[in-house]
């Protein structure tokens, strides 16, 4: 009986698992990293307050582990494993002024973009542009995965 139930649940998966698109691969990897980590957090910290920072850390770690084929992923992993507490995300307090010179403006924006991307400072401009494309895509996937986790279980 249980097997039937499980098999019925598993029918939701695609019939041909070998033809996975990279986004599917990523989401699977991501959830497989994140969910056990959260469970562990749940079990370890029995105190009522689970720090948001640690959760964020786990979230970022899961992203880094699932995106090892990209330079930014590797860089992110390095940064996280070295227990760097500085957060690279949201530049809430940084609003750069834009100079009037057109070329300078573009360069400044490139620099800003470089700061957003983990590991972007060590790359040159061309590399960074292509890495940014990947980063955006995988950030989108990450948000959808997180949403599913949050909404599925409440």
């Amino acid at each position: 009986m249980e097997r039937q139930i499980i098999s019925k649940k598993k029918q939701v998966f695609s019939v041909e698992p070998t033809k996975l698109s990279p986004s599917e691969v990523f989401t699977r990897k991501y959830t497989s990293h994140l969910v056990p980590a959260l469970k562990k957090l749940n079990m370890d910290k029995n105190s009522s307050q689970i720090n948001q920072v640690t959760v964020k850390h786990e979230v970022d770690m899961a992203l880094a582990l699932s995106a090892q084929e990209f330079a930014w992923g590797r860089f992110l992993l390095q940064k996280l494993s070295s227990a760097d507490s500085k957060s690279s995300s949201s530049n809430q307090t940084q609003i750069l002024e834009r100079s009037n010179d057109e070329d300078g403006e573009i360069e400044e924006k490139m620099k800003e973009l470089q700061e957003l991307l983990p590991g972007g400072k060590e790359m040159n401009v061309e590399e960074m542009l292509s890495e940014i494309g990947n980063y955006i895509k995988y950030l989108e996937l990450q948000t959808s995965a997180l949403k599913t986790i949050v909404q599925d279980t409440t």
Partner: protein, 361 residues
Amino acid sequence: MLEGLVSPESLSLSYADMSVPERLKWLQQLQQQEVLSQSSNDSPELLQILQFHGSNNDELLQSTFSHFQMLGSGFGTNYNMGFGPSHEAMDGCISRTGSCQIDPADTMGVMLKNSEENRAISLKTKRKSEVKTREQEKTEKKIKVEAETESNMKGKSNMSNKEAYSDTLKETSKGASEIQKLDYIHVRARRGQATDRHSLAERARREKISKKMKYLQDLVPGCNQVTGKAGTLDEIINYVQSLQRQVEFLSMKLAVLNPELDLSVEDLSVKQFQAYSSNLPVIVASKPLIMVDVPLFPLDQQGSLDLSVINLNQTTTIEAVRFYHSENFSDYSKFLLLVWEVTCLLYLFASAIYKLGNSVT
């Protein structure tokens, strides 16, 4: 034509029967006939050599010997030419020319063509060497370009580059004055532009960057309307920031809800993700809208902020908040969520006013 060349009667004489001067005469005859017949063939080099060698008897002998070897190989075993020591050469000839069993009628033409090929390498006439060096240049440039761009090959541009490369492998005609500029991005020097290597490389680099910008434009929603590098870069920055903020927000929610979570991986199926990815544009679009519309505020109205726009954006965020609050959240978590949303809105206001202030001054 060929029958007159190699008349069966002449060949019926065994070679050994002829005395040496007779042989020479016969050879000369043969050669003259060859020379005549070669007007139709496209082998001026051979013509030159034969004409050159025709005067000198020793060299004539040499050339005709080698020539004969080729001829002899073509005739197979029908005629015993009596070349004692040169049998090995003949065998070598066969392997060189690569023709073993050919019809006697075709032999001459084939042999001549083969000999022409064989001699072309050793000849090095002006025309041939020109073409050769041009080819060498091209291959050099190709190899260098390959080496350069090998490290820069990215997945998306890989296939298109390879197609361009195969297109550029077509050779130019002999009479072409310009040498084609071969590059992965197929950069061609136009009239009046610098053709040195540095500027070409610069141009190739710029085109690569513009290609990537176009790709990013497709990726980021709402980027198509804005033109120019600066605008698209702006959009991309905003989008990435909003995505990162979203991740933070969701992780905060996760932190709040973690004790109540009933996590089971089997439930989180791929299809559900896909369903949510279709929902994603709705929520995601609301956030970038907030950020995108801020710089697009109608500032030409003498700095007065169009409050209706802000209100519109506010409603979208409030809708998002309602969306989240429709779930069974505890009161405390709802409170936290509200606080978070309020801080987000406050930040947006502050940034809008700051930008407004910057642009006015």
